[in-house]
Amino acid sequence: MQVDMTVNGQARSADVEARTLLVYHLRDALGLTGTNVGCDTSSCGACTVLLNGESVKSCTILAAQVRGAEVTTIEGLADGTSLHPMQQAFMECHGLQCGYCTPGMVLAATSLLAENPSPTEAEVREGLEGNLCRCTGYHNIVKAVLHTAEHDADFWQTQAGAR
């Protein structure tokens, strides 16, 4: 079936099998391989994308269900060559090692701060519960989220206000 959606600001249209999950649609049909697959039970969050601004595990939803929606993947987060504040914070705080969970983690954290621009450490930890990382022990991921919440407070307040 024909599925139209806006991905990273661009209208994308493709013919998909009805059973195609959004993550495979993004990866295989649209070539956006930044969204990773880390499990088969919707447990790991590596495939997290933003759907109309909110984080969703793209393995839990069919491409067909996303008709007409706006999807942001990791490829669409940076503004040209300048990193998004969340990406910048992950780099500053060494919040990634192998990088495989990173796209999903960054988008989940982005959604988290858009909802709650000044969270406590405990709120960050709870908020990222659906995203697994095996390298960092989460210490520097949590640090990165708290870092950008503090240092880019205006940006995040604006994001929250826009919702």
Binding site: E17, R19, Y24, R27, L32, T33, G34, T35, N36, V37, G38, C39, D40, T41, S43, C44, A46, T73, I74, E75, L77, A78, L83, Q87, F90, M91, E92, H94, L96, Q97, C98, G99, Y100, C101, T102, P103, V106, E121, V124, R125, E126, L128, E129, G130, N131, L132, C133, R134, C135, T136, G137, Y138, H139, N140, I141, V142, K143
Partner: protein, 786 residues
């Protein structure tokens, strides 16, 4: 300008943060076929029939091959390799990529589908009908030891080997006879599923003509892959190019030569079409090896003051169904460390390796060393209680060199520890933890009879890394050397290029290597490019495992830089008409001593070496040198970890409140990366202590293969960590570095369980099996209070 020792941001990050990192599953080749694996649903059975007709008729299916058909195609010259025959008489049943006749674990490949898409391959594989003749399964070490059922029908015993390291049996017996205090403890190292976040995958792309194949694999060891797949398939080594692109974590799980890799390579080579496969997460529990799987018995002999006289250890180790690359050697890697950081006059270690009908075991972060550290550190706490002193005091009384600094100290397990300084490590950890205050709070809660009790656990560990002196590996029967290769070249435009045989999968090698080269050559780290992980670009290499990259590969790079400087000095002297010994090299330029205006930057020398218009007679053009470094000794990082847990005695729930880690990995190149390695390592050890457990039932079925049931911790279960470092350089290499990839894991499981047992000690509880689940803790309390 010095960048070594500073927390430089990683070069790798921008790509990985923007989705540009290309993992195997992101790479495609025109005309590629997907493999779908038909896997055994039985742990042990004869294969009585395989019906592929329905699968072959499915849409998109190109071919369906049974194991017997694949064997008949002559794809393999030899079984999959085990590179570590630990004894001459080790039993090692042939392990081919596919099963024929008999299957030996759930998940073993019985047939392979080739189809146009991933979904078609999966659908078709489900249509293959296998008839089994069930055989009794061996699903635990205990069962293997009875030798009732056999894991392989043709074997006389489930035992593969017995390995012993008992340097002086008489002295060991005498130590135990003379002892005042004896401790005998048994611990279970449960099986773990390594779970790097990127599942393993492979893509084999044949050349248009000439028989070449490029193998992309999510591997820690592309160099081993190339050599060992050549040796076992008969495809000439020169025709195989192995590439590990971006690799999403390894932790040992990607240190193997796997059936899927051999299948993709040989089928692509045979059919002339690209062949690919990526494991699903639930499949990974069977298609990728598991870690740990040991029963440990440790005995301590100590005098009246608690000073150790002897340590005796026996392991029963679960090999799983087959010997994979280093399966039999993993328990032995720990053997040398069962005396820990302590002065122990007499030592003995024996290990029996057992076959079972479960997924093979092999290296998982720490590989034998977390197990060793766990056993000795748990046993020391039990000894402390017997002697009537605290866990800190029992350790102080037994530290090597009395806790003072030492270099090149022989220990009874036959190794020479490169350097250590254990006293200050403990002091700093206790100080950071606020040990006295913690004990006071513990006493308060106990006196008040609160339901949530506090437990404080210590672990002082030493590990063995920087693998390894080649001769030492030879002595252990390991089928490889332990050197590492590096090339450093200055390009005509003055930028540096490094080729390393070390293969990163998240460790930040590009950043660290750039820092080493930058300081050596006096250039900007941004001007250094690091090439790696492709056997066509770095043909010589021994890859990344055993915390070896910096202490072997990084040192090779530093030494290659020294050679570059030596050559540059000759060129500079020639062109500046000075004596080479009159030149000083600093800040990237040669200057004539006493004439600071006579100077020549290394970039100019590089261009001159490229032009070759004016070089000393007989000198080769270009500024490039190589180095193969074979270390003279292992490196022995150490540290002290303190875990603080809260045990809810009404529910058995254990919460990790704080974690203090003081580590010593010698000199540090990038403290940001070092700390990150410690953090991640800690969580993997904590996870073994509290949550993770590959749970096999009596029939050899894994009850929790998916991430729904296998409890990899999330951010919500962990606290932030309190880390600090001491620095005791290694004398074994010119950088004074040791290694840090596994340290966190080696220290943390023991610290956490020591803390849990400490909390429960008023009940008389001395041990809780890992993982310390609420059920286990609650049950132990109930039983103790009856």
């Amino acid at each position: 300008m010095t960048v070594v020792g500073t927390p430089l941001k990683r070069k790798e990050d921008p790509k990985l943060l923007t989705g540009e990192g290309k993992y195997v599953d992101d790479i495609h080749a025109p005309g590629e076929l997907w493999m779908g694996m038909v896997r055994s649903t039985m742990a042990h059975a004869t294969i009585d029939g395989v019906d592929t007709s329905a699968a072959a008729a499915m849409p998109g299916v190109h071919a369906v091959y049974t194991g017997a058909q694949l064997m008949d195609m002559g794809l393999w010259a030899a079984p999959l390799p085990c590179a570590w025959p630990v004894t001459p008489d080790m039993v090692n049943p042939a392990h081919y990529p596919v099963a024929t006749g008999e299957v030996h674990h759930v998940g073993e490949i019985i047939a392979v589908v080739l189809a146009d898409t991933r979904a078609q391959a999966t659908d078709a594989a489900e249509q293959v009908e296998v008839s089994y003749g069930p055989l009794p399964a061996v699903a635990s070490i205990a069962e293997a030891r009875t030798d009732g059922a056999k894991a392989h029908s043709e074997l006389a015993s489930n035992k593969s080997y017995t390995w012993a390291l008992v340097p002086d049996p008489a002295a060991l017996d005498a130590a135990f006879a003379a002892a005042t205090h004896h401790v005998t403890a048994e611990f279970t190292q449960q099986r773990l599923i390594p779970t790097p976040m990127e599942p393993r995958g492979v893509l084999a792309v044949p050349g248009v003509a000439g028989g070449d194949v490029t193998l992309y694999s999510s591997s820690q060891v592309p160099h081993f892959l190339k050599i060992l797949l050549a040796a076992t398939t008969g495809i000439p080594e020169s025709k195989i190019r192995a590439i590990a692109p971006a690799v999403g974590g390894g932790f040992g799980a990607k240190l193997n030569i796997n059936p899927d890799e051999s299948l993709a390579l040989t089928l692509a080579h045979k059919l002339g079409r690209p062949v690919r496969w990526t494991e699903t997460r639930s499949e990974a529990a069977f298609s990728t090896h598991q870690g740990r799987g040991q029963l440990q018995r440790i005995e301590l002999a100590a005098d009246a003051d608690g000073k150790l006289l002897g340590v005796r250890v026996h392991l029963d180790a679960d090999m799983g169904a087959y010997m994979m690359l280093v399966t039999p050697g993993v328990p032995l890697l720990g053997s040398f460390l069962y005396t820990g950081v302590y002065a122990v006059p007499a030592f003995g270690f024996t290990c029996d390796g057992w076959f079972t009908n479960m997924t093979p075991t092999d290296a998982y972060r720490g590989a034998g060393r977390p197990e060793a550290s766990y056993a000795i550190e748990r046993a020391m706490d039990i000894l402390a209680a017997k002697v009537g002193v605290g866990p800190d005091e029992i350790r102080r009384r037994n530290y090597l060199a009395g806790g003072e600094k030492f270099e090149n100290l022989a220990v009874p397990s036959t190794l020479v520890f490169d350097s250590g300084h254990y006293g200050p490590s403990l002091d700093l950890a206790l100080d950071k933890a606020g040990y006295a205050d913690l004990r006071a709070e513990q006493a308060r809660r106990r006196a008040a009879g609160e339901s949530k009790q506090l437990g404080i656990g210590l672990c002082t560990y030493v590990e063995i890394c920087g693998l390894a002196p080649s001769r030492a590996l030879g002595g252990l029967g390991f089928g490889s050397g332990g050197w590492e290769h590096a090339v450093v070249r200055l390009l005509p435009t003055g930028k540096a290029e490094v080729v390393s045989g070390s293969t990163p999968h998240g460790q930040g090698h590009e950043t660290s290597w750039s820092m080493i080269v930058a300081d050596k050559l006096g250039i900007d780290p941004a001007d250094v490019t690091v090439l790696h992980s492709d056997t066509a670009i770095s043909p010589l290499g021994l890859d990344t495992y055993g915390s070896r990259s910096l202490a072997v590969g990084g040192v090779a790079i530093a030494m290659a830089c020294d050679k570059v400087i030596d050559k540059a000095r000759l060129i500079a002297a020639h062109q500046m008409e000075a004596n080479p010994e009159d030149l000083e090299f600093a800040e990237g330029a040669f200057t004539v001593k006493g004439s600071p205006d006579k100077t020549m930057p290394i970039q100019a020398i590089a261009f001159g070496a490229f032009l070759a218009h004016n070089l000393p007679d007989g000198m080769e053009p270009n500024l490039q040198e190589q180095m193969t470094f074979d270390p003279s000794n292992f490196a022995f990082p150490f540290g002290t970890h303190v875990a603080v847990v809260e045990v809810d005695e009404t529910t058995g729930q254990v919460d990790l409140l704080r974690y203090v880690a003081v580590d010593d990995c010698g000199n540090q190149i990038n403290p940001l990366i070092v700390e990150g390695q410690i953090h991640g390592g800690i969580v993997q050890g904590v996870a073994q202590a509290l949550w993770e457990d590959a749970a096999w039932d009596a029939d050899g079925n894994l009850r929790n293969p998916s991430l729904l049931d296998y409890l990899v911790p999330s951010a919500a279960e962990m606290p932030s960590f309190e880390t600090a470092f001491t620095v005791t350089p290694s004398p074994a290499n010119p950088l004074g570095v040791k290694g840090v990839g596994e340290a966190g894991t080696i220290g943390s499981a023991a610290a956490v369980i020591n803390a849990v047992c400490d909390a429960l000690s008023p009940h008389g509880i001395t041990d809780i099996e890992m993982p310390a689940t609420p059920r286990r803790v609650w049950k132990a309390i109930q039983e103790a209070n009856q």
